[in-house]
């Protein structure tokens, strides 16, 4: 005898399907646990999101990380500060110059090393160019998440010119190890300043193209405006930094508020999230960015647009740095075996994705006894479980993409 129950043979099944309940929307649907990742085109790396969904609505998101845990802190306790520079490259591999910069400043402050002004200026040029390159990747891949393939090709085209400049000074395209404790590893090439100026002249009209393609695209605005709104209080409580924090309206940038290196000698403005109709401040001579209707302060569109405006301001800083590049040494005289004092330091620098912090404990030898890497994306990602609730499934890539994570920094 077959035990398969069909609708005709089991009248009690029919009783469950109460037609009236279906009309009134009271029918119980099953909740589903969907696994997104660790291999997924939209998770920007090996991130696993477990979503509890009710149809299209995501009720709860649980991020699981650690798929790229490369033991950066254990390595910090095993090698000397110079040897650690290549490992800092690989933390947030899209902004390797900025990571090197943060590490070098930490060690210099700990050991009391004075860096010559030419070296500092070169560092700022490299850091800001890398900020532009990093934001270009962020914008391109965000467009890719939203289904737009062309902006990705455009932004990578610009990025290749920046990588050419980097390759000219240090030979590498992605992991530079160029900024080291004491200065930089080698001086700029003779034609660097001219090439850099030519690149900036070429680059400045480009974000307007991205605005035409993507930023003011009706579908893009529908998908990102009002999605993933974070309040300033939540942002500070959850430790958000960088663009994610500024998008909520909190005007906080370490380059201005706790100025490090020689950033206090440069003129630049820091954009924050504005309500609709607001005009984001841009350097003179560059087209303005106006906030369209539907956008709320702290949403995904604001985080995306702030990166475009930050690219303008980084280009402005690089121009100033090229103008005031002094002659001199590109490196301070630092002993080959650098002995760290018996002291500790916690130092943070403003990376494209937030504040990268290093906590270093020295014990009198050349190898630190503890290196803690405070990755900005670690904190930025932790808010996903708080924000990605009661939203649509299609909003998840929009929110996670706008927070702009790089798993190398999350997992270290």
């Amino acid at each position: 005898m077959s035990t398969r129950r069909t609708l005709q043979s089991a009248p009690d099944l029919l009783a469950d399907l109460d037609a009236e309940a279906m009309d009134q929307g009271k029918l119980q649907t099953e909740e589903m646990l969907i696994n997104m990742g660790p291999q997924h085109p939209s998770t920007h790396g090996v991130l696993r999101l477990v979503l509890r969904t009710d149809g299209e609505m995501v009720l709860e998101t649980t991020p699981h990380i650690g798929y790229l845990h490369r033991c950066a802190e254990k390595i910090g306790e095993s090698v000397a500060p110079y040897q650690y520079v290549p490992y800092t490259d690989r933390l947030d591999y899209l902004s390797a110059m900025n990571n090197n910069h943060a590490w070098s400043l930490t060690i210099e402050k700990l050991c009391g090393i004075q860096v010559p002004e030419r070296a500092s200026t070169i560092r700022i040029i490299m850091a800001e160019l890398n900020r532009i390159a990093s934001h270009l990747v962020s914008l391109g891949t965000y467009g890719l998440d939203m289904g737009a393939f062309t902006p990705f090709l455009y932004t990578f085209r610009e990025r290749e010119y920046i990588l050419d400049l980097f390759e000219a000074v240090c030979g590498a395209r992605l992991t530079y190890s160029y900024i080291t404790p004491g200065g930089v590893t080698d001086d700029l090439t003779e034609d660097f300043v001219d090439r850099c100026r030519a690149f900036l002249d070429y680059f400045v009209p480009k974000p307007a193209e991205y605005n035409q393609l993507l930023s003011y695209n009706h579908i893009f605005i529908e998908r990102t405006a009002g999605v993933g709104v974070i309040s300033p209080r939540d942002a500070i409580a959850w430790g958000l930094t960088g663009t994610c924090l500024r998008a909520t309206g909190v005007k906080w940038d370490l380059r201005k508020c706790l100025a490090y290196d020689i950033y206090d000698r440069f003129e630049f403005e820091v954009p924050v999230g504005l309500p609709e109709g607001g005009v984001m401040p841009v350097p003179p001579g560059m087209p303005p960015v106006v906030v369209p209707a539907g956008v709320v302060v702290g949403d995904s569109w604001t985080r995306y647009a702030l990166r475009i405006v930050e690219m303008y301001w980084s280009a402005h800083i690089v121009r100033q740095a090229l103008d005031r590049l002094p002659a001199g040494e590109y490196r301070a005289k630092v002993p080959r075996t650098l002995k760290l004092p018996e002291a500790e330091i916690y130092f943070e620098a403003e990376n494209p994705r937030g504040q990268l912090g290093f906590y270093v404990v020295g014990n009198g030898t050349s190898i630190p006894s503890r290196v803690k890497v405070r990755g900005p994306c670690f904190n930025n990602l932790s808010i996903v479980s708080h924000v990605c609730r009661d939203c649509l499934l299609a909003d998840i890539p929009a929110i996670v993409g706008s927070i702009d994570i790089v798993l190398g920094e999350v997992d270290r």
Binding site: P38, Q39, H40, P41, G45, V46, G66, Y67, L68, H69, R70, C71, K74, I75, S78, V79, P86, Y87, R90, Y93, L94, V137, T141, F152, L153, F156, R157, R159, E160, L163, R173, L174, T175, L407, G408
Partner: protein, 177 residues
């Protein structure tokens, strides 16, 4: 630990040595090498160079390999781009198993070849992806330049060109396929 890939498809290992299969070989191999579809599987820094290879300056699409498939079930090639950790290793194996034959694996970057810079002090790093999946091509570099990745792709194309549907070894057992 890792078993060799099987070649028990419809065409392989069916024909005796005496049968002339060169034109069919040439056609099949040309079709396969000109449309190697990779699975989007970037793990770490090498993934960015893989993306740059797919972008406009280096353009992997002119080799036919530009159609990156998000699902391994439709892909031919898994470019393991980035450090393999113990937590990730089982997922890589699962993705490899989900790929249909004929499938190829390219180990991109120093981390996948032997652990890379993390080989000595990385407790959570697998010292080479060959401990997890069988590898066809190794591309050294940290990260390898896009030109190096394209060279690796061309080496893989050479390997594919060497394939033949004629039987090379003893006759296989009858399978249900």
């Amino acid at each position: 630990m890792v078993e060799e890939p099987t070649r028990n498809g419809l065409l392989y290992n069916r024909f005796d040595d005496g049968v002339m299969v060169t034109s069919v070989d040439w056609l099949l191999n040309w079709a396969r090498e000109s449309s190697i579809w990779p699975v989007t599987f970037g793990i770490a820094c090498c993934a960015i160079e893989m993306m740059a290879t797919g972008a406009s300056r280096f353009d992997i699409d002119r080799f036919g390999a530009g159609a990156f498939r998000p699902t391994p079930r439709q892909a031919d090639l898994m470019i393991v781009a980035g450090t393999v950790t113990y937590k990730m290793a089982s997922r890589i194996r699962r993705l490899y198993n989900q790929m249909p034959d004929p499938k190829y694996v390219m180990a991109m970057g120093a981390c996948t070849i032997g652990g890379g810079p993390y080989a000595r002090h990385g407790y959570h790093v697998v010292k080479g992806v060959e401990m997890v999946v069988p590898v066809d091509v190794y591309v050294p570099g940290c990260p390898p330049r896009p030109e190096a990745l394209l060279e690796g792709l061309m080496r893989l194309q050479d390997r594919i060109r060497m394939q033949t549907i004629a039987r090379r070894g003893p006759a296989p057992e009858k399978t249900d396929i």
